[in-house]
């Protein structure tokens, strides 16, 4: 990779901004996500911060089992996040609908509607697991920005 691509790759790894989308979650996962920003875990050290608008973010963190009311919002917000982007499904609800599977008002796991890159299962997942998931998403994001030809090169 040229020096500019390496700089861009490093910047994407070092500055993952999140947008948090709640699609009908019970708020357990949301609380654990916000806990990561609190003094005990302090993810700002890693450059992770919550953004106020989906257009400002790279990583879309989705909680909740995608209720019927939020389906349109999920699709719109996913479209609003600018490329390159990744999606993290936080908790067991977006992965499998958890205890709400089979309910008539649940539109199913998140992967039915938007492509998901990282799953962080748990009800709720531990903040360490969430941070791990976001770090993995940041790596995928940086890799996604690299042109196809360069992706085959060995990482130095």
């Amino acid at each position: 990779m040229s020096i500019l691509s390496r700089l861009m790759h490093k910047s994407r790894c070092k500055s993952p901004s999140l947008f948090h989308l709640n699609t009908g979650s019970c708020n357990g996962c949301d609380i654990e996500l916000v806990t990561c920003l609190s003094p005990r875990y302090d993810v700002e050290q890693l450059g992770i911060h919550l953004e106020g608008s989906p257009r400002h973010a790279d990583i879309l963190c989705v909680t909740g089992p995608v209720t019927r009311n939020t389906l349109e919002a999920v699709k719109q917000v996913y479209a609003q996040v600018c490329e390159p982007k990744t999606v993290v499904a936080l908790g067991s609800c977006p992965a499998s609908c958890n205890v709400f599977a089979g309910s008539p008002v649940i539109e199913g796991p998140l992967s039915k509607h938007i492509p998901v890159d990282v799953y962080v299962p748990g009800c709720p997942p531990h903040p360490d697991a969430i941070i791990n998931g976001i770090a993995r998403a940041a790596e995928i994001l940086a890799q996604r920005g690299v042109p196809q030809a360069a992706q085959g090169e060995p990482q130095r």
């Binding site: 700089l7 994407r12 070092k14 500055s15 302090d42 050290q45 106020g52 608008s53 790279d58």
Partner: protein
């Protein structure tokens, strides 16, 4: 363009100094906020990485006048702040013309106007609300800011910046400096006057629809505003003279210290509502106006 103008615009306190300084001051703000909250906070290069990452985003293509205006506003903000920084009398008499204090105030005002216009042009309801809040707050805090500048100018009988630089015995001067300091949190949208960029209420306000390089420019403009406003106060309180390098370093150090103090105050306070913020500035403006007018009348009677 003569040599000293070139140096002021492009080297110090212009472009080459201003952009890294902007990132440094923004890092200082985040670090102080983190420390006040018993956290560790971001690494030193964080604002730089954020900026580079934003340059690499593939933004949606917009067409037409609206799109071009949206791209113009952050660029205009950055350019006007670079101009304001070039005008700062760090080394007085190097670049000065009568009335340049008024030009400085106008250049410092342009980013706020661009922010308001960007909110209305973006077509988003959050942009509109944020722009309205910023406009109302701007009217209120500019009263205090302009009164403070006028008070300082009255004590020296001129608006020429090179004459305004440096401390004075006159209480009117210190009143003006205090007035400018109190206006800075509203201009930078810091607590307790952060109502126009209240993420919990209006997403990102006027910047909601921005992405990529244009957003990076807005964040750079915010950092440059930090440097310009704290730099203005620093030039008004630091005695002139001494070696070039020593004075420049002292200027940066005192500006940064002011930035840290303002960030600590922001971290320690909560957000005022729009009504409360406006009422604060109007009351302050009334007091300042009274003091400024009486000071001017007193000086007129004396001379």
């Amino acid at each position: 363009m003569n040599a000293s103008a070139f140096i002021n615009l492009f080297l110090f306190p212009g472009l080459l100094f201003a952009v890294p300084a902007a990132w440094f001051f923004v890092w200082g703000e985040h670090k102080v906020t983190a420390r006040m909250q018993r956290r560790i906070g971001p690494p030193l290069l964080q604002p730089f990485y954020d900026f580079v990452k934003l340059l690499g985003k593939r933004t949606p293509s917009r067409r037409g006048l609206e799109a071009n205006l949206l791209r113009l506003y952050p660029a205009l903000s950055v350019l006007s702040l670079l101009g304001a920084l070039a005008l700062l009398p760090v080394f007085p008499r190097s670049l000065s013309f009568s009335g340049d204090g008024i030009l400085l105030v106008a250049l410092l005002e342009l980013p706020s106007i661009c922010f308001i216009l960007a909110g209305f042009t973006s077509g988003s309801i959050y942009g509109e609300i944020g722009a309205i809040r910023e406009a109302v707050l701007s009217v209120a805090n500019n009263l205090v800011f302009l009164l403070a500048m006028v008070t300082i100018a009255v004590t020296r009988h001129t608006f020429r910046l090179s004459a305004l630089a440096g401390p004075a015995i006159d209480p009117g001067h210190w009143l003006g400096v205090l007035g400018i300091l109190i206006c800075i949190p509203a201009k930078l949208r810091l607590n307790p006057f952060s109502t126009s960029s209240a993420e919990q209420e209006i997403y990102s306000g006027p910047l909601t629809e921005y992405a990529g390089a244009a957003l990076g420019m807005w964040k750079l403009a915010h950092g440059l505003e930090w440097v310009a406003l704290t730099g203005l106060v620093t030039t008004l309180i630091l005695p002139v003279g001494g070696s070039l390098l020593g004075h420049a370093l002292l200027f940066v150090a005192v500006s940064f210290l002011l930035a840290l103090v303002l960030s600590a105050a922001a971290a320690a306070t909560a957000r005022f509502t729009l009504e409360r913020s406006v009422r604060f500035y109007w009351q302050l403006a009334a007091v300042l106006a009274l003091l400024a007018i009486s000071s001017a009348v007193y000086m007129g009677l004396r001379s």
